[in-house]
Symmetry: D2
Subunit: 352 residues, 4 copies
């Protein structure tokens, strides 16, 4: 049993059934198919928006291409120092933007500290030739620590960004998980909170491979069609993406899947939390649980074949402990996690 | 009825059934899943090879990344002037290679003329600083004119290439169609004929989105894993690609699909060829039919709702004719084309 | 004696004297020095313009950076097929533009044929995703064949360009030679004729290393300051460039140098033309002489230690001749060429 | 009087005299001239090396091109967080390398702390696809804080680097100032200490514009000739660079110039240090003086028209002070600084 990530799961049966049906018959290629068009319309309806929308197969592509679109090669992009775009995309944003500079900003629990952002942007003098120029702020909702920005926290950061000429990107790989946790509307957690371009991930929330790039101001999407084409990100049979997105949105399927994943995370957190030898550095607010496991407990999980992601303890007090004392772990629940699985893990972890 | 391209069709039921099944259960992410590993092994078996193999979702990505891998930014890449990499990928090879130069080479019926290749490469002086340096030859099998290089033709070109220090790339978007037409083994049409890296397309031959990049010399794949990652081309749930490829190869499904498409093309060619008012500039050797349609015949097809791709008549005598006389058209048959569809078209085209 | 290029000469004494003086004392760095500011003002006065002006040390940098500025990575740039940016800059425009596509256009004697330009641009469908998008026209004045566009020829091409949304770049590596030959004002051969950005070369006309990039519409220069900085083209002690340019422009020194070079070319052409065994494919209109030399004559020059550039006979009838018959040669005169040198060559070439 | 940087000075008379002479007569272009060849030989002699050597006109170009050469686009480059390549080149290394990632490492007084380097490199897992891959270490000698790495400090860092597969780059914009301060040979401060590629700056030490890139292992320079050409960094009249370098090296002129600059710095430091209201955060080891100036003293300098660079007080205790209390300043002496100038500043700074 492996709960190291939510991308270890497959896809929801509803989405796969839709895909199976979409694979029949003739459709226009390159994203001009009926499914893609309907998916874009459905997204705009769900977000109460008139966004320009593009679909790609990976979150790395979505983030890197969106960031490239709102910056120039001599731009600085500000994000939390643990952000996926900074740490886990092998330099894709740098590569696809022509060499823009990612600047990591500090902040507790994976969330950018507004004062640190002010300080970070102040280091680059506007209009000064030797300095790269601040151009974008990237927020991860859910953050890499599994935490959430509250809506007013988002607005504080985007307000500062816009006042200083930065466009705002949101890495929404787990947007749905955050959304159901906050209990607000998609619009309220994105454009109404000051997000200019959202990378909305369906993949981790039950799709097989589908990410939407939503430019809430269509002017920002100028010539984006060539940017994605020349990066090789326009699918020949675009229905693959459109059909997944349509089924994902249909009758709030995306929210149901996310709610389930979050509920399983809460259950697992509660279960593990009842044991000795566990410590949680950050609140569990969506579907990710970061937890320090005492050696004995970790050993019991190993013997029960429970797998998780060993995680670098950056920003936690656990980095100072000896590896012999225990392990810092990430568990991520998904649409496919069952109460029985959670029960199995919690039971296995329990001291005899 | 639209036969403008073979990417208008969906996916074969066998492949979709496999995908449905693959979407269940837990798998490692980022191409480390069982399906992807098995697909790579199956490809190597089919090709009698020990290639390093990577899977991506689009042909544009496959071609551009493979070419980037075997060149430097100051390289020249030689291909037929009509090649997809030169004409229809919005500059993706230039973009992902850091600005390498694509040099179009002439030749009848979409195939590079060996003498023209010699002349084209000779224009760039080896070792001379102001000149980009010849580094790669790209062959399209099937060509953009629907024609085939015979095996000895491939060997002639690759022999020249290797003797002059060029690596050889094959754009095999319709490799299977070419293969069954030539009646040789996959190895004979690729590495045994001098191909260093093959982009093998399953998408146009019945898959939904799956392309393999095969480096027959594993040393050529050095650090390629980062090249594709930072281009955003590593799928989170890699099983999407692996499962398609496995099903495509299983029990020669790929060859059956291609044989069917080719047979439908032959049927359509024969049918149209029996009418007045049609002219074929090039032989029909795989699943593409290029044909000049007299105005009256084109009008009958239009009234019967038969759609095809209007094609630029470059390299044909038809460019000199007035648009009022007729239309230059491309029909492409696919795994999903039926004899009834062909019959319908042929009948519709017939003069009353 | 080597007349293979005008960059074999050093620099004019007047320019060097100015440089010597400029090397004294304190000046602001990075192009904020008094010399650079004065040079920009002097250029604007000479061109009756209000251009945004930048100075760099090489023509390759000037061309590539200017073209990058008026294009996007998915752009097509049209130039004569023999143009320096296409043939002799090792792919610099592709590299610094992020991979834009250079499209060679045919035309007699190194000059773009307007109909060929129309046909070349028409191959790329506007707004169509698979096609790179036409964005710039690049004219070389003087052309690579040593010929000149007349002012109405420039206007015809730039008129077409602007009507089709292309910006116009002029590679003016030998602008001064062309200017004195046409006998018009700098403005008339540039912005009044429809040129949007001019790369004005002083290096080949008596400077040591100095090229100006002039954006006649300042809006085109938006953020160009970072483009050149991050390409490493902002000199720490910018006075090196500013002082050369100031001296070059002072009291029409640039025109005097160019007139002299042109006069020497005319003299050499006349002298060689009086011999048997020479053929000129193109008129000699500035300071370059392209000439086919019969073997015997070439041998006499060799024995007299006269060196020239052996030139590829593309676009001439000489390519069909055996190398044993003779040589296709380029002579370029410069500010430093003397009548005695010309006399020596002409005499040496003469049959005994 | 402005001592904000050593690039405010012009060029040494000896170098200018050599340049004047070099501007006469015919020379091969593009770095094939006699001066450039002799300069390369002289450099190799001075460094007891057989390096492959290239000359460019700016330090930004030298650093960015050298780093691009020893990395791939998916590489991480480690340098001190204050390094010029990280802070003051507008992203040139990112741009010319295709998007490599610059990772700032901490350390007191502008020098990389070995333990911090170990920690920084450890964050990137070798062979792991989502991580950029450590490839280069860049050392600035003199550092951005005006301090020096002792030879054993260099060897400690380069030893770690080589053991972990990193190539070592040295930004030697003020190499000569460091060299005379350490009192060792050029070889001892470069390749014998583990430096693989040195960017040796002459510009700040009395030249007008000349930087050498020295690959001590010629294999590292493979195809570098095209890298610099396509970046626009090959001068048409290469003698401009070669002649400066030759004169700079001749009879230890470079060392004399650097010794003078360092001596002036020591004089200025001693003078200012005798006043109240000054604090030096770091030792003055070469030709740069960083000093906190009390408001009153700063005001006296302002009234005496003494200019320096206001500097961000990063890594010092001065950042915590109110701007009303005083100013953090950088003074840089050069070959052109005279004892009288120093005396004038010291006197002006003195309390009445």
């Amino acid at each position: 049993m492996n709960l190291g990530s939510d991308n270890l799961a497959g896809a929801s049966p509803k989405i796969m059934a839709a895909l199976l049906k979409a694979a029949e018959g003739t459709q226009s290629p390159y994203g001009q198919d009926d499914f893609t068009k309907a998916a874009a319309a459905a997204l705009n309806e769900a977000f109460e928006a008139k966004a320009e929308i593009f679909f790609v197969a990976t979150g790395t592509a979505a983030n890197a291409l969106a960031l490239a679109q709102i910056t120039r090669p001599w731009s600085a992009i500000f994000c939390h120092e643990t952000a996926h775009i900074n740490e886990a995309e092998a330099g894709a944003p740098e590569g696809l933007s022509g060499g823009a500079k990612i600047v990591g900003v500090s902040g507790a629990a994976g969330k950018i500290d507004p004062e640190a952002l002010v300080a970070a942007t102040a280091r680059f003098r506007k209009g000064w030739q030797p300095h790269v120029q601040p151009a974008a702020l990237s927020l991860s909702q859910v953050s890499e620590c599994g935490t959430l920005y509250q809506r007013d926290e988002i607005r504080t950061l985007t307000g500062f960004a816009h006042a200083h000429g930065l466009k705002v990107h949101m890495d929404g790989a787990r947007f749905a998980n955050g959304l159901v946790a906050l209990g607000c509307t998609p619009a309220e957690m994105s454009w109404k909170a000051g997000v200019d371009v959202l990378c909305l991930g369906a993949t981790k929330d039950g799709a097989l491979a589908c990410e939407a790039i939503m430019f809430f101001d269509p002017a920002l999407a100028h010539e984006f069609t060539w940017r994605i084409k020349r990066a090789g990100h326009v699918l020949s049979k675009g229905r693959l993406l459109g059909a997944q997105m349509l089924a994902w949105l249909d009758q709030d399927h995306w929210l149901d899947l996310a709610r389930h994943a979050n509920a399983m995370a809460a259950l697992l957190k509660a279960g593990l939390g009842s044991h000795d030898g566990v410590e949680f550095p950050w609140p569990v607010e969506a579907n990710e649980i970061f937890v320090w496991l005492h050696r004995a407990l970790a050993e019991r999980l190993r013997q029960a074949n429970v797998t998780y992601a060993a995680w670098p303890p950056l920003g936690t007090p656990f980095g100072a402990r000896s590896p012999a004392e225990g392990t810092f772990a990430r568990f991520v629940t998904s649409f496919a996690t069952t109460p029985d699985m959670v029960k199995y893990i919690v039971t296995a972890a329990k001291a005899p």
